[in-house]
């Protein structure tokens, strides 16, 4: 393996891991507040299609990304209205969101399949990006990748030392206790879900505006689900989410590695890799019952009615 290949693989690893990182951070905040939103896939697809259409019609990438985020938030509020407002089963509502988002995005995007746009370009930071091996990975990426580093830092700080982070954790651990001591349980949860939605929308926008600048039906191809598994992998700890995201990024670009090394493997088998890796990781992490129990938000996925 030569240096160039390693440099490029690392670069692609971060690039591929970025949407996963963004979605997983959003979902982590959401789950910490005790809400399990399985609709990541649907929110991502809506972010992708809305971002794409907006950028195509206005020519503005910034507007595209903003609208992608808004689309994600709008979708997440649909979830919140039903799962939190009407106390519906969170698993079923999340599934509904994914099915609905898949359908709606395919519907409104049908006319745009295969239309090309100019995507987001990488910005190489002078000097730093020249560092051998890791320079390209960390300092020759596009703006959203840099933004994902910032979001990671913010979420880390949020849980480590902010009051709001403490409230989110408390609400996710025991909403009844939080309610009687006067914490705004429902408001906290709505906000956490909205953050999750915004992040999923952003990640979706990244797919259609930067990663592969085009729109295709179902283009997130399971990334929303993998992100959910990532949160389990990270055992709800922020610092491990970034590790997991890049590991999965690596698993997704194995074809690049295989080609680079000259091994011909069926593309269909390689395409299976991220999913197989997800199962493997779930098995390895979950079998440690002690750890899973220690870090899982205790009230995750269970309904809570403020006066119930």
């Amino acid at each position: 393996m030569d240096i160039d290949l390693i440099t490029n693989v690392l670069y692609a690893m971060v690039r591929t891991g970025t949407p996963l990182l963004i979605v997983a951070l959003g979902e982590l905040v959401c789950e910490k507040s005790g809400v399990l939103n399985l609709g990541q896939e649907g929110m991502m697809l809506m972010g992708a299609v809305v971002g794409f259409i907006v950028t195509l019609t206005t020519g503005s990438l910034i507007l595209g990304f903003l609208c992608a985020i808004l689309a994600g938030i709008a979708m997440s509020m649909l979830f919140a209205g039903i799962a939190l407002g009407l106390n519906a089963n969170q698993v079923a509502t999340g599934l509904a969101l994914t099915i609905f988002g898949t359908g709606l995005s395919a519907f409104i995007g049908a006319a745009y399949v295969g239309v090309p746009i100019t995507g987001l370009d990488p910005i190489a930071i002078p000097v730093l990006s020249e560092i051998p091996i890791i320079g390209k990975m960390l300092f020759a990426q596009d703006l959203i990748v840099y933004l994902s580093f910032v979001i990671f830092g913010l979420v880390y700080w949020f849980f480590k030392s902010s009051r709001m982070g403490l409230t989110v954790k408390a609400v996710g651990e025991n909403p009844h206790a939080a309610n009687v001591i006067g914490l705004p349980v429902m408001r906290t949860r709505y906000l956490a879900v909205a953050f999750g939605g915004g992040m999923a929308g952003l990640a979706g926008g990244y797919l259609s505006l930067a990663y592969t600048p085009l729109w295709a039906e179902n283009m997130s191809s399971g990334r929303g689900w993998i992100a959910l598994a990532l949160v389990v992998f990270a055992t709800w700890r922020v610092e491990r989410v970034i590790l997991g995201a890049y590991l999965f990024g690596l698993a997704s670009i194995l074809n690049l590695v295989a080609q680079g090394l000259g091994y011909p493997v069926s593309p269909n088998l390689l395409a299976m890799m991220p999913y197989a890796a997800t199962v493997l990781v779930l098995v390895m992490i979950s079998s440690n019952v002690m750890k899973s129990k220690m870090y899982t938000p205790m009230w995750l996925g269970k309904p809570f009615h403020p006066h119930g």
Binding site: L166, A170, E173, V180, M290
Partner: protein
């Protein structure tokens, strides 16, 4: 004990309730309640389970709102919108089921409740230290709640109220989770607080404690005030009558029994749980004889759940002979196999373990009664199941419209009678009952005690695990206590005292010196 005489000068009242009424679907929880507390007064709110005490407290603390009536705070009518408003007014509440967060530290927990008044965490930790020392309630601000004992958790709840400028402290059944010694030191703290001018509303159903602590008492029954009195001047009998009504018989004494041969034998039982929040059992040994009731006292969270799971078969053991039913080693057998050998089991959680909430009584009969010929060739025998269910309902006087009523529609007492009846009617050789009468009214508790005694007299071995020391003295033939996963020695009930069992509950077993060192260690971990 000092006692203040309270003059009815309305201007000096800290809190007055006038005609407070609260209606829940299908139940009038509070019916025109009047109550008044002065500054520095310790006032008892006395009543049975379900009398409406907790509902009333929740309204004072702003968790729920009254349908009618007035709340007057220091002479002015107020509408308490939410708990944070109550807190700002100077009202603090210690909940029966603590409102603490296991994964956070003491300081973080207190900071959450104080909201913006908390300031930065370092200063808060210092304030916590000062307040907790001042009232003799040692606390380590940086420890996580899940590492604290129940008594320590209660201290956190109390200190959480005291770090602010407190004028009224409400305590909901605070002694039910404490050892007798801890109760004493809590009372010392409360008296000191009252002396400093804080009013205290003390909710309880334990007459002796109310008599020892409170200046005045208001007694509730079925949502209504049935009387006000000065506990020190009125006998406990009169208070009990006001509490339960004249027509409910109050428990009598039961004759003690010696039992015959050991049926349940537990040997060298040690258990490390895979749950990070669970207790570890350390080398537990005891026997329960056929024809006797053995009581295990202890404060919740000291290994009772783990011991019960090891006995029921929910948690399988390392070696079969760690638990034996007579001559059969059952440590490796699952719950069904143990039932086939004569085990009956009454869990602490009535809904959600003892009975499936959404299922009918008939289906809940099948839940554990399936070994009584109710299933044939894999299919349910509907007729026999109905018959069995109806017999339980009739024999144990379960108040229900029919065997089709879902378990969750029954009151706690009625459901518990059903569950106890279901287990006893399967003629168990060993009945394990966890907290058999918590949260049930006195009528049902008496019926349950009588049923247990009758089963004992038929020759069954009975193990009762309870936090209620009075109950254990009432029905047990022999007693022991569990603390931090260890079991004390066992003594005949007539040969021990509440004080001694209380010491066992704090881990002071029979060798005083060694054991007291141990107790210090456990609280410092």
């Amino acid at each position: 004990m000092s006692r203040q005489q309270v003059e009815p000068a309305s201007s000096s009242y800290r809190l007055q309730l006038q005609g407070i009424t609260k209606q829940y679907p299908g139940c009038l929880a509070n019916d025109k309640i009047d109550l008044a507390i002065q500054a520095g007064e310790i006032h008892a709110l006395l009543g049975e389970n379900g009398a409406g005490k907790s509902t009333l407290m929740k309204m004072i603390y702003g968790v729920t709102k009254p349908d009618a009536g007035k709340i007057i705070w220091q002479g002015k009518p107020v509408v308490i919108k939410d708990p944070s408003m109550a807190r700002r007014m100077g009202i603090g509440m210690v909940f029966q089921h603590f409102s603490l967060f296991e994964t956070l530290t003491v300081t973080e927990n207190i900071a959450l409740a104080l909201g913006d008044d908390a300031g930065d965490l370092k200063n808060l930790a210092i304030r916590i230290n000062i307040v907790s020392k001042q009232y003799g309630m040692e606390l380590h601000p940086n420890r996580h709640i899940h590492s604290l004992s129940v008594g320590e958790r209660q201290r956190v709840e109390i200190v959480r109220c005291l770090v602010q400028n407190i004028k009224l402290l409400i305590l909901d059944e605070p002694t039910s989770v404490l050892t007798p010694q801890e109760v004493e030191s809590l009372f010392v703290t409360l008296r000191q607080l009252a002396k400093d001018g804080c009013s205290i509303l003390f909710i309880s159903h334990k007459l002796k404690e109310v008599q020892a602590l409170c200046h005045n008492a208001t007694i509730l029954r079925a949502g209504k005030v049935t009387g006000d009195c000065i506990p020190a001047e009125v006998g406990t009998t009169r208070m009990a009558q006001l509490m339960v009504g004249d027509d409910t018989p109050i428990s009598t004494d039961y004759p003690k029994s010696l039992g015959t041969l050991p049926f349940l034998i537990v040997k060298d039982l040690s258990l490390e749980s895979d749950d990070p929040f669970a207790a570890t059992l350390k080398n537990i040994n005891f026997e329960v004889r056929s024809g006797e009731i053995l009581g295990i006292a202890g404060v919740a969270g000291n290994g009772q759940e783990e011991l019960l799971a090891a006995l029921s078969g929910e948690h399988l053991l390392a070696r079969a002979e760690q638990v034996c039913f007579a001559d059969t080693a059952v440590g490796l057998l699952d719950p069904r196999a143990r039932r086939e050998l004569g085990l009956g089991f009454v869990p602490e959680e009535r809904l959600g373990r003892g009975a499936v909430p959404e299922m009918s009584l008939k289906e809940n009969t099948l839940l554990t009664g399936y070994l009584q010929g109710l299933v044939k060739n894999g299919f349910i025998n509907q007729f026999k199941t109905t018959q069995f269910a109806d017999k339980i309902i009739k024999d144990y006087k379960v108040k229900t419209p029919s065997n089709q009523a879902p378990a969750q529609s029954l009151s706690g007492g009625n459901l518990q009678k059903f569950i106890i009846g279901r287990e006893i009617m399967q003629n168990p050789k060993l009945l394990v009952a966890a907290h058999p009468t918590w949260g049930v009214d006195i009528g049902a508790a008496t019926a349950i005690h009588k049923a247990l005694i009758a089963l004992r007299d038929q020759g069954a071995a009975i193990l009762v695990v309870s936090e209620d020391i009075d109950e254990l003295f009432l029905i047990s033939d022999r007693l022991c206590a569990i603390c931090d996963g260890e079991l004390s020695a066992t003594k005949a009930t007539t040969a021990t005292s509440i004080e001694e069992v209380g010491r066992w509950m704090t881990g002071v077993f029979d060798q005083p010196q060694v054991a007291s060192e141990h107790a210090v260690q456990t609280s410092a971990i």
